[in-house]
Symmetry: C2
Subunit: 200 residues, 2 copies
DNA sequence: AAGATTGGTTAACAGTGTTAACTAGACGAA
DNA sequence: TTCGTCTAGTTAACACTGTTAACCAATCTT
């Protein structure tokens, strides 16, 4: 067969990602994935220990993609504020460009995350460290005022995540313009962390 | 029996709320609820059409409690900024005081929410209208600068929700002090919306 | 050619939401 | 007082779920 027969493992991940995004995570069943892949349900267990393991693999994959995307876009040679803004916008851009990947990171809630091995979070942490370093530079240059850059980094991320998830989960009032909401929120988050200089 | 035999419907809601908070929402089963209530699983269907309906009832209940809590605490006679801060802090206070209720509002994700009748959101909207009016007052008094108070209200709420859900879902780095994180984030959200007056 | 490994299969178990059909008791009307 | 109806529950069954155990048919190694 000249068909693009990519290995079953990858095929399962692809299908799962799609089903997850289209039908939600309670609708995701091993049998459903298997049927879509044209294979028996138990075959999935040749590549994944269980459903959790499959989900965790998807999460890891998405975290990796998000991290790479951020790290690629930030230009270490540009100014601190530009870097700061770049990280934040890259994060949001990724979320809206790949909602199925972004959602996966948070879709699977605590029930399943409690079983998620903690050391796997290290990859995600690296992106924080980047943001922390930028904030530290900003503080040194007198552009920001933060006695605790790590807390600040997490606060930024939390606020940003709130904005993104509200949009992606379509919980926005329909009187509100989506793009306007996003832009305003991001601006507020960014400006709120810069030292306030009164410009008429 | 002199036992507090509250009506089965209420008993089911109580038990569901607890199971939901303790074991997560995939672990919530009709049979599990029934066993806890000492009743057969199908009895639940005498009071709720299906599992969705049960969940939606819990959501409605929580939204109502949250709204009442906010509206009670805000003092219409106090200054605009005090009212503004009061709404925000009431929201967060409720979330941390009744995490099982707050979580329910957002725990059930889009899969089930898509089936949630839209008119039921009206109650939730009322709290936004309150915040919108406060912002409008703030703008009139020159304390805030927002060309679109509705968008601003949703932005505030989204950022706040992000902060709260990060804490409640225990996604916070363990090097970070929880209370410090909450306080800093709330301060940032509040101050970010006030007109920037440079005070040395 | 023989043995082991790879990549799948089918059958089965226990648990899920939900429906249909039933039953025991309470209440009102004849 | 008995008949019928309503209420609040029951049991049995269906179609689905994740997962395990046992099996099989190629393919690779020696």
């Amino acid at each position: 067969m000249s068909e693009k027969e990519l290995p079953l493992r990858e095929k399962i991940l692809d299908i799962s990602r799609h089903l997850l995004y289209n039908d939600g995570h309670t609708a995701l069943s091993m049998r459903g994935i298997a049927k879509e892949a044209g294979v028996s349900a138990t075959s999935i267990y040749l590549y994944f220990d269980n459903k959790d393991h499959l989900l965790h693999t998807l999460i890891e994959e998405s975290v990796e993609a998000l991290s790479v995307s951020i790290e690629q876009k930030v230009d270490a040679n540009s100014g601190v504020i530009a870097q700061f803004e770049s990280v934040i916008r890259s994060y949001a851009d990724f979320a809206f460009a790949h909602p199925e990947k972004y959602q996966i990171i948070y879709m699977v809630k605590s029930e399943s995350m409690a079983r998620y091995p903690k050391e796997k979070f290290r990859r995600a942490r690296r992106s924080y460290e980047l943001l922390v370093k930028i904030i530290e530079s900003g503080v040194r240059e007198g552009l920001m005022e933060e006695e605790d850059p790590l807390t600040a980094a997490y606060s930024i991320w939390a606020q940003l995540h709130g904005v993104i998830s509200v949009v992606l989960n379509q919980r926005l009032d329909n009187r509100i313009n989506r793009e306007h909401f996003i832009e305003k929120s991001i601006q507020h988050i960014i400006e709120g962390f810069l030292v306030r200089t009164k410009v008429s």
